[in-house]
Symmetry: D2
Subunit: 164 residues, 4 copies
């Protein structure tokens, strides 16, 4: 992928709805988030209250005891769930993750092959939103699942020039 | 750090107590776990039921919205908490993380400087152990905290030759 | 309901599969669990990996700030999720809840009317099982959700006489 | 205890700081919350960011498998943790629990005797606060622990007459 890696300024991000922001990320019309590059994960599906992040387990994500680190799995689920919430946000609304819960069902290995983390909105209120996530291999076997709570902050769309 | 990166075989790992295994990791007498290298984190303290992982936030761990990704913070806390439990294990005991819960209190930025994830054992039973963790900057300000549940599996120490 | 309230002995309970045990509870062929009586909740649906607990909010379950206490909601979800797991257990298998996570979406009030906590199995392994739960009113509005992790302990079916 | 059972109106509650409200509850100067009565629990300690709820396990809190129901334990921890947060609130600030996480370490039985749930503030921001809790018997043995996240809502102190 030739998309440059980088972070979008808050001002630019706030001008877009969450869905538009994610659609541009997915299409490569915005710089690729650095941690997505480091973790080698990409958004592969995106719809109202739903996202999929896809990744391929690699030895560089192994822990000391011979399987993919729980932190890597948590990263995929956190990303998919937070973005499922982000699809609901109107321009001018910032958000942050308050908490993340992940259950690990079976070890993910290099031989597991490509994995997909599905994030699904549970509820989006005015200031709090929740989502759930599931991590599958390509045969649909479940490896992990999670839930998250995010805070939504209606900051307002920056006016002309404020993003300079 | 010149320690080679790699994964220790289960057979070799099971011959050591959890504390001996971690001490060797810390000293560079065992290969550095791949994900520790990828995430640029190291064990800096190790005692009975307690560990510290230290890392320095870098732009490559940033998410799309301009701060360190929650998955990175979860990785540090998961590592510190799991290793606090591992310090309790006798040779021949494998373990796996069942679940992880993380709360994010304030964003971690590059300017935050070095951060330390402290893992502290809560309880170690025969088959289940729990730990809690806190993530601080160098001034002792709290950025995140978590808890974890691990399953302990008394497999037995491999006999001579089984590790070949 | 005229079913007597009481606790079944471990020996009697272990002779039954989890599903048979729950079916007898639901039918009133076993004593009603004391906390079900205190909390005024009953099992209303039961199938493979799925249960529903139904209750009607009452002022006696209110907290100091004027709505149903989160502990009451947690009780309903914990019960529904643990029993969804219990439906999978063969005779001779005991179980215990390791951890419970609940999110509260909106307050439950007396005027909410009857509520139903649905528990649904996520995964049942040999020693660990997980489930998720959702709490709805009769119109299908979501009030809370949760997940749980249980440990399964294959103790064996008591032989004749051991239950005396 | 001869304190009447009841719920304080939101208007009356908002006139008090969280600490004053809890002090009056503890002293019996406000009606006893209904669920505290149903669950037979009382506040026994109260200080800045810290509370203790005390209860004595009774058969009426038993589940179907012969020990105190996890929902009862969750209720004690939820109460202690939420009130630890409430001690930080100025008049005019409402709050609600967003999520609750509980780990169960060993079964609580009638023979366990009196138990104490300690709630301890972790962090109190402007709109979000977090706390942790531990449940002990009188010998200091640990039975369960938890964490919680609450949302704080600065509503304002009702003006004269609004509470009628």
């Amino acid at each position: 992928m030739n998309t440059p890696v980088g972070v979008v300024s808050k001002e630019e991000a706030l001008k877009l709805s969450g869905m538009d922001f994610l659609q541009k990320l997915k299409n490569g019309d915005l710089p690729r988030p650095p941690f997505s590059e480091t973790m080698d994960m990409i958004i592969t599906e995106l719809s109202d209250g739903f996202t999929v992040f896809t990744a391929t387990p690699d030895l560089k994500f192994y822990n000391a005891i011979g399987c993919i680190h729980g932190g890597y799995i948590s990263t995929l689920l956190d990303s998919a769930m937070a973005c499922a919430i982000q699809t609901q946000l109107s321009p001018g609304t910032a958000f942050t993750t308050l908490e993340l819960k992940v259950n690990f069902i079976r070890p993910v290995l290099v031989k597991t092959g490509a994995i997909r983390a599905e994030g699904k909105l549970i509820h989006c209120g005015r200031t709090i939103a929740t989502a759930e996530g599931k991590l599958y291999d390509e045969q649909g076997k479940l490896y992990a699942f999670g839930t998250t709570t995010c805070a939504l902050m209606p900051i307002g769309v920056p006016t002309n020039g404020s993003g300079e």
